[in-house]
C-alpha cells in the first residue's frame, strides 16, 4: 500500500455550485473552506475547524433546515501530520433534499465536539466512529464501544490495524 500523506480533497474559499444560499449564509461567520466540486459525483462539502464542528452543524440545522444527520464517519490517514483523522457528517435537509458533507480534521487523541445535542441519531453514530477509530467525542453522554466487546483492545478501522491476526483471546 503506497503511503498517502495527504487527502485527495482540495479546498477553496468559494462555495461550489449546488450549495443553497441558506447553507452559505449559515456557515459564513464560521470561516469554512469548501471542497471543490467533487468530480466523482459526491455531495458538496466543507471543512470547518475542529472546535467549531458542532457549532457549524448547529448553524446548518437551525438556519438552513438541515434536520437529518444521515451519516457520520471518519477517514484515517496515518501518515498525515499533524491531523490524522477527518471526521465526516453528512447532513440532509428533508424539505429540499439538499445534502451537505461537513468535515473536520483531528489529531490522534484529540476530541471532537459531539453532535448528540443536535440529532438523536448522533448517539450511536458517534459511538460507532469511536469504536472503529478511537476518536473521542467531547460531551457524548455514553461513549462506549458499540460493535466490539467493551474490553477489546485496538481500533479496527484504522489503517494500521491488521485485517486478521489480532486475536484478543490469545494468552
Amino acid at each position: 500500500m503506497s503511503k498517502v500523506t495527504t487527502s485527495c480533497m482540495k479546498y477553496t474559499d468559494d462555495a461550489p455550485e449546488g450549495v443553497s444560499e441558506a447553507a452559505q449564509s449559515a456557515l459564513a461567520p464560521l470561516d469554512v473552506r469548501w471542497s471543490e466540486h467533487p468530480e466523482l459525483g459526491g455531495w458538496p462539502g466543507c471543512l470547518v475547524e475542529t472546535v467549531r464542528f458542532a457549532e457549524a452543524c448547529a448553524a446548518l440545522r437551525d438556519s438552513a433546515g438541515f434536520d437529518m444527520l444521515v451519516d457520520h464517519t471518519a477517514v484515517d490517514y496515518p501518515d498525515r501530520k499533524p491531523e490524522r483523522f477527518t471526521v465526516l457528517a453528512l447532513l440532509m435537509n428533508m424539505t429540499t433534499q439538499e445534502r451537505l458533507m461537513v468535515r473536520c480534521r483531528v489529531a490522534d487523541g484529540a476530541s471532537v465536539p459531539t453532535l448528540c445535542d443536535l440529532w438523536k441519531s448522533a448517539d450511536w453514530a458517534e459511538r460507532e466512529t469511536f469504536d472503529m477509530f478511537g476518536i473521542p467525542f467531547e460531551g457524548h453522554p455514553d461513549l462506549t464501544r458499540i460493535y466490539m466487546p467493551q474490553d477489546f483492545d485496538g481500533w479496527p478501522l484504522r489503517r494500521d490495524f491488521p485485517m486478521q491476526g489480532h486475536n484478543r483471546f490469545r494468552d
Binding site: 451519516d71 484515517d76 428533508m94 438523536k120 467493551q150 479496527p156
Partner: protein
C-alpha cells in the same frame, strides 16, 4: 425468553462501594462488563423492578439483537439495545480486498435482500470508476431490487405475524418466498447469496423465460397480497396488538435519521427512488405509501402497499425492456464476459489483473444512496486511487432505525416489544456490518 439468562440485579445500595445509581448521563452505566451493563434505576420507589435480558438468542429478536429491559411487572421502563454480536468487519474487508472482490460480501449485509445490496454497492462503485452500466443491465437491476424488496418484506411480514401469533401468514409468505428463490436461482445460480452484479453491469443476462415468469408472478401478486391482507388487516387481534403501539412521531423519526418504511410510516414521504432516482426508477410510475399515525399498524400497511408497488414497477420495466449488452465497454474497470474468460487467454489475463488489483480508480469522494428494503443504504467512499477504497462507509439502515427503540419502547408492555421489533423490521447482518 430463556429464563436462565434473566438476571435480577441487586439495587446499587446493596453493595457499599458500588457506583452511584446510574442515569442516562452517567458514563458508569455502560462501561461495566458483560452481565451488569444495565443496572436498576432505583429512583424513589423501585417497586418490583427487575432487569430482564432479551436476546441475543431469542426467536423474536430476528437474529442476534440483545435488549436489556428494565421491567416493572409487564411494563417496560427502560430499554438498552446492545448490538454488535454479528460484527464481521465488512468495511475493513472492503478496504482490504477492493471493489470487485467486495461484491460477494454485500450479499451477507441485508441477507433478506441480497440482490438489492449487490445493486446498491455496484451503483456506488460505478460512481467511483466514473462509468455507467448499459440500459439493459440497469433494467435487470431495477427488477432485481424490487423482487428483493418483495422478498424482504415477505419474510418481515411472516416473522412479524408469527411473533404476534399469526402462524398461518408465515407459511403463506414462505411459500411465496420459495417462488422468488426459484427466480433468483434461475437468474443467478444461487438461492440468496447471489453475487449477481458486476461493476459496469450484471453477471448473466436474463432470458425471456425468466422475464415472462417474473411478469406472471407480478401480475398475480396483487391477489396473493389480498389473501394475506384478509388474514391480517382487519383481524381484530392484529389491530389491537398493533394500533397505537410504538408510535414514532414525525419529528422524532427525522431526528433519529430513520429511513425506509419506518420513516414513511411516520408520515414523511421520503423515498430515494423518487427523490434522487437511480437505475430506471425515473422512467416508471409508482406511488410511495405514507402512514398517518406512525404506529406499528401503519408501518405494516406501508410495507403491504410497497409490495404491490414493487410488483407494479417490475411489470412496467419488463414490458419496456429491450435487448442489448449487459456489461459496459470499459476494460479499465469492467471484468470481461465470463464465457470469454472460460475460453480465451486474453480475457483470462484481463480478469486476473482486475481481480488482483491492477485497477486504478480516480481519486475523490463518492456518496451514493439507494432505497433498500429496510431504508436508505448509503456508501461514502474515499478513493485514493488503486483497486481498493481508502475508506468505505456503509450506512446501514437497520443500525440507524434500531436506535429509536430507546425512545418508543418505554411505557409499553413486554408483549408489545415483539410487535415493535417486527414492525421496525431490521436485519442484524446489516446492522452490525
Amino acid at each position: 425468553m430463556s429464563t436462565d439468562q434473566t438476571t435480577r440485579d441487586a439495587t446499587p445500595e446493596a453493595t457499599p462501594d458500588a457506583p452511584p445509581a446510574p442515569t442516562g448521563e452517567n458514563p458508569e452505566f455502560s462501561t461495566a462488563p458483560f452481565d451488569t451493563d444495565i443496572r436498576l434505576d432505583a429512583g424513589e420507589d423501585p417497586g418490583e423492578r427487575m432487569v430482564l435480558n432479551m436476546g441475543p438468542q431469542h426467536p423474536s429478536t430476528h437474529g442476534v439483537l440483545r435488549l436489556l429491559l428494565e421491567v416493572d411487572g409487564e411494563r417496560v421502563h427502560r430499554v438498552v439495545p446492545d448490538v454488535g454480536y454479528l460484527h464481521r468487519g465488512k468495511e475493513k474487508i472492503g478496504e482490504t480486498l477492493g471493489y470487485h472482490r467486495y461484491i460477494p460480501y454485500t450479499d451477507r449485509l441485508d441477507y433478506l435482500a441480497p440482490l438489492a445490496n449487490n445493486c446498491s454497492a455496484t451503483w456506488a462503485f460505478e460512481k467511483v470508476c466514473g462509468i455507467q452500466a448499459p440500459q439493459r443491465a440497469q433494467a435487470i437491476r431495477t427488477v432485481c431490487c424490487e423482487l428483493a424488496r418483495i422478498s424482504a418484506h415477505l419474510l418481515g411480514l411472516g416473522a412479524y405475524g408469527m411473533d404476534i401469533g399469526a402462524m398461518t401468514v408465515f407459511l403463506y409468505t414462505f411459500s411465496e418466498r420459495e417462488n422468488l428463490y426459484n427466480f433468483f436461482e434461475h437468474l443467478t445460480g444461487a438461492r440468496f447469496t447471489t453475487t449477481y452484479t458486476r461493476i459496469g453491469g450484471v453477471a448473466r443476462d436474463a432470458d425471456d423465460e425468466w422475464l415472462r415468469g417474473v411478469r406472471d408472478f407480478c401480475d398475480g401478486f396483487g391477489k396473493k397480497v389480498d389473501t394475506w391482507e384478509n388474514l391480517l388487516t382487519n383481524n381484530r387481534i392484529w389491530r389491537i396488538r398493533n394500533e397505537g403501539v410504538g408510535v414514532i412521531p414525525r419529528d422524532m423519526a427525522i431526528s433519529y435519521g430513520l429511513t425506509g418504511p419506518v420513516l414513511r410510516g411516520s408520515g414523511v414521504g421520503y423515498d430515494v427512488r423518487k427523490d434522487r432516482p437511480y437505475g430506471l426508477y425515473a422512467d416508471v410510475d409508482f406511488d410511495v405509501p405514507v402512514g398517518q399515525h406512525g404506529d406499528c399498524y401503519d408501518r405494516y400497511l406501508v410495507r403491504i402497499e410497497e409490495m404491490r408497488q414493487s410488483a407494479r414497477i417490475c411489470v412496467q420495466i419488463i414490458d419496456k425492456m429491450t435487448p442489448g449488452p449487459i456489461l459496459a465497454d470499459e476494460p479499465k474497470f469492467v471484468l470481461p464476459d465470463k464465457q470469454g474468460v472460460m475460453t480465451g487467454m486474453e480475457q483470462l489475463i484481463h480478469q486476473f489483473m482486475l481481480i488482483t488489483g491492477e485497477m486504478d480508480t480516480p481519486k475523490g469522494e463518492v456518496h451514493s444512496h439507494s432505497e433498500n428494503p429496510k431504508g436508505e443504504a448509503g456508501y461514502i467512499i474515499r478513493s485514493e486511487g488503486g483497486a481498493a477504497p481508502w475508506r468505505m462507509k456503509y450506512r446501514a439502515p437497520s443500525f440507524v432505525n434500531l436506535q429509536v427503540l430507546k425512545d418508543i419502547v418505554p411505557g409499553h408492555l413486554l408483549a408489545d416489544i415483539v410487535a415493535i421489533l417486527g414492525s421496525i423490521d431490521f436485519v442484524m447482518g446489516e446492522c452490525d456490518k
